[in-house]
Amino acid sequence: MIKTENLSMVFTTEEVQTRALDNVNLEIKKGEFTAIMGPSGCGKSTLLNILGTLDTPTSGRYLLNGTDTTAMSESRLTELRKRNIGFVFQNFNLIDELTVYENVELPLIYSGMKKSERRAKVTEALKQMNIAHRTGHFPQQLSGGQQQRVAIARATVTECPLILADEPTGNLDSANGEEVMMLLQQLNRQGTTIVMVTHSERDASYADRTIYLLDGKIIDRR
């Protein structure tokens, strides 16, 4: 499903050039649950952003379902993302001004779905994440664990085949963290491909395999 060829990413500021990714070659098959680990600043999040088409690499190619995304326009990338990828962030990235329901509904609006269909989907997703009783609340009225469940509901509501999770338990206590990992595992069992960046060995243990990054290079695959 995911294939990268000699992927490199260089950030240039006025004074320094930082090589965040250095010739990364990676392949992830459909239905796999992959964890990416490594110390801070090793390029994990950069890799995840490129896999999510949120950023474009400086050189190399990234193929999603066999399609080369490297030269695509912003609008085509947006289309690709809408159909294929759901995101879960460490800091949840919910919109404070929208209710739980509206936050989850957002990607469906952008995909052009009718209102009645949206209602059914959102209700279903919230139920699945066990957060349906909080529909009308605003993010800041929820606990961290609840917010992350809303974020996962938002990522899964479009039934996209790929979920990218960036430290999904980073802001959660261990009980809530475990609950979130179970949810991800459950999604994986239902057929969703999951790529997760994490610091935690325990979280990584939920994955089928783990990739280790250091200084922008893959140093180990298990």
Binding site: N49, G52, L54, D55, T56, E74, S75, T78, E79, R81, K82, F87, N93, L94, I95, D96, E97, L106, P107, Y110, S111, R154
Partner: protein, 802 residues
């Protein structure tokens, strides 16, 4: 001092923002002060007389039933002495004659045409605060043929020599008088409605005419005794007036109205009023404009200060953590605001210094005269400063005292919605003001155009007016020969001698009625003395009948009337007036109507149509014909004028040659209207500019606050157009609200202004639509770059930079 250095440091860290803030505020304050200076001048008219609050001008009002038929600024010569004798409460009075004839004034070889003269009584100096600077301080103007003149006039005629005892000769086409200069006064202030260079003794007027009741030829000023009310005098006059009514006024109610001296300048123009008038509605609109400009400036400064304090929340949070009290936070906020306002005021003063000279020459009025003597301006500056300090400083500092230090420290305030309602409200206020300014500008421009177009014809460009020469031997035949001689020149298309020209009030009200009808049918109408050529030159549109023609033999008993005169004489159908006979008060024989012209604007569309009767000037020689109109074949060149002067001098070697172009005179009529439109244009440009500055700042901060949200939405697949809509939706809503409030507001304000003109355009909807499009367009352009930049960003970079 510690505060101050902190504040200065704070202002210096974001220099460009501080610069923006100070300059925006300075421009608004400068413009507001400029407008206020003009307003102060308009409101300061006649405020320099001692006991001015007890001085009134008595003005005649004639009614038929409840209908006000005649509204004059003058009274008869008889009013003053009789009222002062019979009505209690009048402490003093003075009469000032209201003639409009130019006089040719001569001393030795110096000769000028003068209009700024009047005949008046010794009490002039008791009523008005116009001190005599040379000559006896009492008894001036008591004897006949004496004059008191201004210093300016004295210099004009006598140079450096002593004017006292010298004799000036005053000549009109019909008379010659000599006046001994007995006193000198300073030039009359610019903010005086009385602006004379020559005060001639009233006792020079022949005794038989001094106190007559059948000519409304003088302005009568009354000084009431303390404790008396103008109503008392008005009521008392209504009681005695039947005893003094002339035959012509028997069927009318004759009243007077006492206009307070200080309000004369701003009351609407009436018949027989010569001076430049102000307009109360304009003054009110200008004051509102100044207030709006100040508000726009303050709103910007406030928005910026709020945004800045949110941006610096961590710093403020630290102050609170280390124990800054509520009082010290507010003091600091106010001090910062005071510094900002002081800087802006200083820059505004500089701007004013730069702008005043062009503004004065632009308006043609030195409205800065006396600005340093009056306490009004320093007071206004003080009020503006204090109000500005509170407006800009109070809210942000109170807001800071209410926020918990922990909120500050998290630095989340910029993202929060705190104060956005206020900021939105203020932005709406700015846009309302801009809307009113833009639509107002368009309306004023259209009205001024409308007035100019409806009183001026293209042919008027080719008309030169010269003044009728003063009295000489064989005057009539000389003028006639002069006309003929000019008519023979190829460059001259036509010549006419008349009592008025378009733009100049005809006045000369005489009573007329259908011949044979009851005396109660008389109507006051303006008598317009013309010659056979007048209609050839000015070509008013004839509805029916014909103009005067030498081919029809003797036309002395024939008249042409306008629609309004036909209506007043009782001919609803203008055709019915043809062939009818009219009885005019000073003539025994009837006058026959041979033509009716369509109503046209003799003066300006500011005044209603008046009844006019055109007659051949020789028929009533007492009515003056001061103007000779000369129509050039192509255009008026200096050579053309030189040619006319040469011919003039051969016929009238001793007369002064004085001329004006008709279009110049007409432009002068609309001077104050044009000034108003210019002020409007400048204020609009300024308001829109500063409001956009504010909008730009608001967008800067609001997009900054929404960067994270935009990032999330992009990650979730929002398209560019959708994001653009999201970011500009609020702006669109604000503009809609501004239009919804601004349009009716502008309609009310400008409607009131338009109503001060007898003839005006109806409120043009296009002006409102244009204002809406302009504001929406300019606002969009202002925010476009910022919004596009946010939208074009890579989603993850947006989130990372957040």
């Amino acid at each position: 001092m510690n505060y101050l250095s902190q504040i200065i440091k704070g202002l210096r860290t974001r220099k460009s923002l501080t610069l923006l803030n100070v300059s925006g505020l300075a421009v608004c304050i400068g413009a507001a002060l400029l407008i206020l200076l003009y307003v102060r001048f308009e409101l300061s008219f006649d405020n320099f007389h001692d006991d001015g609050d007890r001085i009134y001008r008595a003005e005649s009002r004639l009614y038929e039933g409840d209908v006000l038929t005649d509204n004059w600024a003058t009274t008869t010569f008889g009013h003053g002495p009789v009222m002062s004798r019979t009505i209690p409460g009048i402490e003093n009075f003075v009469r000032v004659t209201a003639q409009d004839r130019e006089q040719e004034v001569t001393y030795a070889d110096r000769q000028f045409i003068e209009t700024a003269y009047c005949y008046t009584e010794p009490s002039f100096f008791e009523m008005f605060n116009i001190p005599i600077i040379s000559g006896n301080s009492t008894g001036q103007l008591a004897g006949p043929n004496t004059a008191v003149i201004t210093r300016r006039a004295a210099t004009r005629y006598f140079g450096k020599s002593n004017p006292i005892g010298k004799v000036l000769t005053f000549k009109t086409p019909a008379s010659e008088q000599h006046f001994e200069v007995t006193g000198i006064i300073g030039d009359m202030p610019r903010n005086s409605h009385l602006r004379y260079d020559f005060l001639l003794s009233y006792s020079t007027i022949p005794e038989a005419r001094r106190d007559i009741w059948f000519i409304h030829g003088v302005y009568t000023y009354l000084k009431l005794a303390p404790g008396w009310n103008p109503d008392d005098i008005e009521t008392a006059f209504a009681r005695i007036s039947p005893d003094y009514r002339t035959a012509a006024l028997q069927h009318k109610d004759w009243k007077i109205e006492l206009i307070p001296l200080r309000q004369i300048h701003l009351t609407p123009r009436k018949s027989y009023e010569k001076e430049t008038k102000g307009n109360r509605v304009v003054v009110n609109i200008l004051m509102a404009m100044a207030a709006a400009l100040l508000l726009i400036g303050w709103v910007n400064a406030l928005n910026l200060t709020v945004a800045r304090s949110l941006e610096r929340s961590r710093e403020f949070g630290l102050h609170k953590v280390f124990g800054a009290s509520r009082r010290s936070i507010i003091t600091r906020g106010l001090l910062e605001s005071a510094l900002l306002n002081l800087l802006a005021l200083t820059v505004a003063a500089g701007l004013l210094e730069l702008l005043l000279p062009p503004a004065v020459s632009w308006t043609g009025t030195d409205f800065t005269a006396g600005m340093f003597e009056s306490p009004a301006m320093p007071a206004a500056v003080g009020v503006i400063f204090v109000a500005g300090v509170l407006f800009v400083g109070l809210y942000p500092s109170i807001m800071q005292t209410r926020i918990k230090p922990s909120d500050f420290m998290r630095g989340q305030l910029l993202n929060s919605r705190k104060g956005t309602t206020l900021r939105r409200t203020l932005t709406v206020a700015q846009f309302i003001a801009s809307f009113v300014f833009i639509s107002g500008t368009l309306i004023v421009i259209r009205q001024v155009d409308h007035m100019q177009n409806s009183t001026s014809a293209d042919a008027f460009r080719r008309i030169l007016i010269i003044r009728h020469p003063s009295s000489t031997d064989n005057m009539d035949s000389r003028v006639s020969d002069f006309k003929k001689r000019l008519g023979q020149q190829a460059s001259v298309k036509g010549v006419s001698v008349s009592g008025a020209v378009p733009g100049i009030e005809v006045a000369n009200y005489f009573t007329n009625r259908p011949f044979g009808s009851d005396i109660s049918e008389v109507k006051l109408m303006q008598m317009f003395a013309v010659d056979h050529d007048y209609f050839d030159i000015y070509r008013p549109e004839f509805i029916c009948g014909r103009d005067f023609s030498e081919n029809h033999g003797n036309e002395l008993n024939k008249v042409v009337i306008n629609e309004e005169a036909a209506r007043m004489l009782g001919y609803d159908n203008t055709e019915d007036a043809l062939g009818q006979q009219i009885a005019m008060e000073v003539l025994k024989e009837p006058l026959e109507v041979i033509g009716v012209v369509r109503n046209y604007h003799q003066q300006s569309p500011a005044v209603p149509f008046k009844p006019i009767i055109f007659f051949i000037k020789e028929r009533v020689p007492i009515i003056a014909t001061p103007y000779i109109s000369i129509m050039a074949d192509t255009e008026i060149t200096p050579e053309f004028i030189d040619g006319i002067e040469r011919v003039y001098k051969t016929y009238f070697p001793n007369a002064a040659f004085s001329y004006f172009r008709l279009t110049d005179y007409q432009n002068e009529i609309y001077k104050s209207d044009r000034n108003f439109s210019r002020i409007f244009i400048c204020a609009s440009v300024l308001a829109v500019f500063v409001a956009c500055l504010g909008l730009w700042i608001m967008t800067l901060f609001s997009t900054m606050a929404r960067v994270r949200e935009i990032g999330i939405r992009k990650v979730l697949g929002a398209g560019k157009f959708r994001l653009f809509g999201l970011l500009t939706r609020e702006l669109a809503l604000l503009i809609m609200i501004s239009t919804a409030i601004g349009a009716p507001l502008s309609a009310i304000l400008m409607g009131r202004w338009l109503e001060s003109y007898a003839f005006h355009i109806s409120l043009p909807w296009q002006a409102f639509l244009t204002a809406f499009i302009a504001i929406a367009g300019i606002a969009l352009l202002t925010v476009l770059r910022r919004v596009c930049k946010v939208i074009a960003g890579k989603p993850m970079r947006i989130l990372r930079n957040e």
